[in-house]
């Protein structure tokens, strides 16, 4: 595959996807919030994986319909009917919050030069998490020249946005748990393999790698790491310190 460095996102199709059991785990609701945020953001950029998740949700429905029922509490139906009175027979309630439609100021556009040429919109649900980071007085911090990070809050693992300038190595590192990197704009190579917008790069605890951003523009990523990062170079240790690990 080419991880083509096109800046026209509508025609870019991700080539690196979540594993089968990750898509199923997300559909089943058995995945923690932090990895779910990464998977869901990938889904916003990947129609093929959306179809797979729809299949796994259908599997959930099928398994539900095959379950033997539990006995209900006394007066269960009448209690529930009474609760309907308290609620609007809200035909208008589609279950989507209004905020999903509006784009809070300062969250739609990628942080700096990554946005300069495209002014693209970050997809939901990431936009909501960016909004929350701003609401919590979070800010972009310079971890080293050409690398800025913004921490996000999600249960289950460490999550942050990372913006790298072109042709920069991400310091040599390993991790004690799984690492997920989702490219939002720009791209990088890890050895011969390229990653572009929407691509999900997974690496396990055994991996030690040193990805390098592509030369033709900055790279914006969503990063999740379980456990802790083990920097394997003096530079990595400094960066990890800056990033608060």
């Amino acid at each position: 595959m080419t991880s083509g460095r096109t800046s026209h996102r509508p025609i870019y199709r991700p080539a690196h996807h979540p594993a089968e059991e990750q898509l199923a785990g997300y559909a089943a609701g058995e995945m923690a919030e932090a990895p779910s945020l990464v998977i869901a953001t990938h889904l916003a950029l990947c129609p093929a994986c959306r179809r797979q998740v729809a299949d796994y949700e259908a599997l959930g429905g099928e398994l539900l319909s095959q379950l033997a029922g539990e006995p209900l509490g006394e007066g269960s139906l009448s209690q529930t009917l009474a609760r309907l009175d308290a609620t609007d027979a809200g035909r208008a309630d589609t279950g989507r919050s209004q905020r999903a439609r509006s784009v809070p100021k300062g969250t739609g556009v990628a942080p700096s030069r990554a946005a300069a040429d495209e002014a693209f919109l970050l997809p939901q649900p990431l936009r909501d998490y960016m909004s929350q980071a701003w609401a919590d007085k979070g800010s972009w911090r310079k971890a080293m020249p050409g690398l800025r990070v913004l921490k996000l809050k999600a249960e289950g693992a460490k999550v942050w946005m990372m913006e790298l300038q072109p042709s920069r190595p991400i310091p040599h590192h390993g991790h004690t748990g799984q690492e997920l990197v989702l490219v939002l704009s720009g791209g990088y190579h890890d050895g011969p393999t390229g990653y572009g917008p929407g691509d999900l790069h997974m690496s396990g605890p055994e991996t030690i790698h040193e990805p390098v951003t592509d030369a033709d523009g900055p790279c914006l990523c969503l990063v999740m790491v379980e456990g802790s990062i083990r920097p394997t170079s003096w530079l990595g240790r400094i960066v990890s310190g800056f990033m608060g690990f």
Partner: protein, 224 residues
């Protein structure tokens, strides 16, 4: 769902039955059907579509009551398998059914089967209530969403047909693979805990689960 057309068995019966023994917690106990309990019959998919449609169009309480008889015992079973006790499962089941009432108009039978839609509502209710976590989800109306270049020409019957095909593929899985798939959906534990319970190496649990999932999806793809 054609394997067990015994829905009549509980159509007119009382919704409450004597409290049965707590569900087993062992691997096999989660896989055995328990036909003695209410809701054990499998609803026909088209009926559920129609009931939700009546709720959406006419706020039809009789339709709601019928849907409740079909699904409330199963939703409660789902919630109890996730670690809810009897009364919490009852509460969350009722909240789920209220949500079904409120959101009936957003149900689109072309997009998903009724059972799928009910599953996603119960799933999200459980995540909110049990884990006190937000579930990150896409917004199909999001302008930043990358659109699907090849939307399938979906017809109302298709979602239900796919459900039937899935049921057949599930029934054709080896017992231990089907058990793992059920655990993956109904058991809020890490794969490592499941590995410990089944006395299988973690890698084996993961590879068997992946194998089973791929088989199920392949069954759908062959159908397309």
């Amino acid at each position: 769902m054609t394997r067990s057309p015994t829905r009549e068995g509980n159509r007119d019966g009382p919704v409450q039955v004597p409290k049965a023994a707590a569900p087993g917690t062992g691997l096999l106990a989660t896989t055995l059907p328990r036909a003695d309990l209410p809701g054990a019959g499998l609803p026909t998919a088209g009926l559920a579509d129609e009931l939700i449609g009546r709720i959406a169009r006419k706020s039809d309480r009789a339709a709601f009551a019928e849907l409740f008889r079909l699904f409330a015992p199963r939703l409660k079973s789902y919630l109890m398998r996730q670690g809810c006790d009897f009364s919490l499962a009852e509460e969350l089941m009722q909240e789920t059914m209220v949500m079904v009432w409120r959101r009936a108009a957003s149900f689109d039978p072309r997009r998903a089967a009724a059972t799928t839609w009910l599953f996603t509502i119960a799933r999200n209710k459980r995540i909110d209530a049990l884990r006190r976590q937000h579930r990150p989800e896409i917004d199909l109306a999001d302008p930043a969403l990358v659109g699907d270049p090849a939307p399938s020409a979906e017809e109302p019957v298709l979602a239900n047909e796919r459900g039937r095909r899935l049921a057949e593929a599930l029934a054709a899985l080896p017992v231990e693979q089907a058990a793992l798939v059920r655990l993956a959906y109904f058991d809020d534990r890490a794969h490592s805990d499941i590995a410990a319970e089944t006395r299988l190496p973690l890698g084996t649990v993961k590879s068997r689960l992946r194998l089973a999932l791929v088989k199920l999806r392949r069954a759908l793809e062959e159908y397309e």
